[in-house]
Subunit: 369 residues, 2 copies
């Protein structure tokens, strides 16, 4: 079990109320309970609430509860309703939400004329592939960005409370405006989801034979296409404007490359294709990698069979060679009972790693595109 | 060093001539030399040829060479030229090529009226992220599909020779027509490359702050965008028709989703978005995973620090718990000195793995979207 160091919230806050005891709400509950906080859980589904309480994410509400902090963890389409209701019910509490879109709920609250002095939207960049109180875990926020959307009228004490919440859960607080947040998640999360889904959709009725040639590249490119439709329909609808803007640009880019390939003798056609690949090189190099840095590593590939003992020996040998593994990926060969372990190391240690592993009897293969 | 079991080719073939001593040519050379085959290397670049010979991929050609098999490993744009020249020079040899597009060179050869009885196109689905004789390795073909494009006039003996080549190098031979091959690689390789590149290109000038929210999902989706432009311009140009067909369809799909998000009250708008995500679910589930099967695994996440010794201990503990690791992925938290090891196991062993690892002091975190 996980034992977090008692956090700041436990010292400043009498109790925290969490509305919506699904994956995120229950996960926050677990972390705060372990942190020594009195966590009050609420959910429109009595079954979900009971599960969350049984699993130890907090207690059901009781007469006289007076939370200092309310965390709204409902689905995106009812966030504004819930935030408004909580602000009215607990006028002395700071209210935040964890929805993955920030501008639309804020606009809705403003349209209703709700007093928002005590409201600060936030968004922890964490989740799991499956939802619900059963999947909840205290540690899903560790090391993840937690966006906090303050505005001019937010009191410093309220902001500090949300920062404490993020820090107590092990997340990294990042301040943004709601507009900055929504444009950012459109770019790095919502648009990639749509693109990966539409690319993967081409395989839904493709011949089995064609798919047998699929390698690690296309598997990586389409991995997130396995995401659940229900949530994504809500997220995309709630963040439509910046998503649509990017989708239009990408559709136009695709059309431009298609036209260039259709008519290769047209002026600039080959350059259009080359520019598309080159701009992709530039873009992917800007994504933060390990620890937010952009260091270059060298990779080599070691053949392993499927036994986990083999991987233990592999890492044991690397440790004895004093080779630090910067990144690791396990690939599987189609139709073969062997795996390919792609190991990224500092360029200065590559030769030592390859020689040392070869000497210890490991079969070194090439890296794969 | 790798020692392959002497293969069939060594028994049936006096010598194999490889034209083009870059990554693929030199890699085939290394594997065949280890297999006991007399390998003759040729390259228009004397420097590249010298490197390949120095590294042990074969020998330079000599008076009186009479190869039984010629493998053309030149860049796509000169494949037809080279195949025609080799067929004329060695009328008793079987000639194959390893270009990643099969129809365009064949059409060009037919246009020229070349006698193609002794020609069989092929395509090993292998490569590395960097090219050249220096990067060559005998083992890059292990477990990879090797497409062989026979036609009606191909003699059985010639086909057998190419199959022996593929098998000797550890690849899995797959027969396809050139049309089937080109449509297949367009779908699972060329189109994903364009889509990933154009998605990543959106990051080339995006604000640093937005990119700081990027997680593992978008990193996976855009990983192949790091590929080299020069080669891809040739590949895409040579396989334009099936690539363009798919790009048009994806551009139209993107536009359809963008329109649905723009006008969410239009009839069927929400369904359009949901269908896109759902079709992506169906498509990605059809990609062959481990060993071509589509088994479901459960994943759990263990926190590790950056020392490779930790990974050795991790896999050692999993081995002692008799937990077989079906898949493994190392994630890095932005701004944090820790890694998250995502471990896929058989659902039947999940509880034992989690309990056992917790008992051994490992910190178990949730899985991440």
């Amino acid at each position: 079990m996980t034992d977090l160091v008692p956090g700041k919230l436990a010292r400043v806050s009498g109790s925290v109320r969490i509305v919506g005891a699904g994956l995120l709400g229950s996960s926050i509950g677990h972390a705060l309970v372990k942190n020594g906080v009195d966590v009050i859980l609420a959910d429109t589904s009595p079954a979900q609430l009971r599960l969350a309480v049984d699993y130890g994410a907090g207690r059901a509400e009781a007469e006289g509860d007076a939370p200092d902090l309310v965390v709204v963890c409902t689905p995106p389409d009812v966030v504004a309703d819930t935030v408004a209701a909580e602000l009215e019910r607990y006028p002395n509490a700071v209210v935040t939400d964890v929805a993955s879109v920030k501008l639309e709920p804020l606009r809705e609250l403003r349209r209703r004329g709700v007093n928002l002095v005590n409201y600060i939207g936030s968004h922890p960049m964490a989740g799991r592939e499956r939802g619900g109180a059963i999947s909840a875990r205290a540690d899903i926020f560790l090391g993840r960005p937690w966006v906090i959307c303050r505005d001019g009228e937010t009191p410093a004490s309220a902001l500090a409370l949300i920062e404490d919440l993020a820090l107590d859960l092990g997340a990294v607080p990042i301040e943004m405006t709601p507009e900055e947040h929504d444009r950012s998640v459109a770019l790095v999360s919502h648009v990639p989801q749509v693109v990966a889904s539409l690319l993967a959709a081409r395989f839904a009725e493709a011949p089995e034979m064609s798919l047998s040639l699929a390698g690690q590249g296309v598997r990586d490119t389409t991995r997130i296409a396995a995401s659940a439709p229900e949530l994504w329909v809500q997220i995309l609808a709630a963040n439509a404007a910046p998503v649509v803007e990017q989708l239009d640009l990408i559709a136009a880019d695709l059309q431009r490359v298609a036209d260039a390939l259709r008519d290769p003798e047209a002026a600039g056609a080959r350059r259009t294709t080359a520019d598309a690949i080159r701009d992709g090189n530039l873009g992917v190099a800007r994504l933060p990698g390990k620890h937010g840095q952009r260091r270059m590593f060298e990779t080599f590939v070691v053949m392993v069979d499927d036994a986990s003992g083999q991987l233990g020996r592999l890492f044991g040998d690397l440790g004895e060679l004093d080779v630090n593994v910067e990144d690791f990926r396990l690939e599987h060969s189609p139709g073969a009972q062997l795996g390919l372990a792609e190991i990224a190391v500092d360029p200065a240690t590559l030769q030592r790693a390859v020689d040392g592993m070869s000497a210890r009897g490991w079969r070194i293969a090439g890296a794969h595109v």
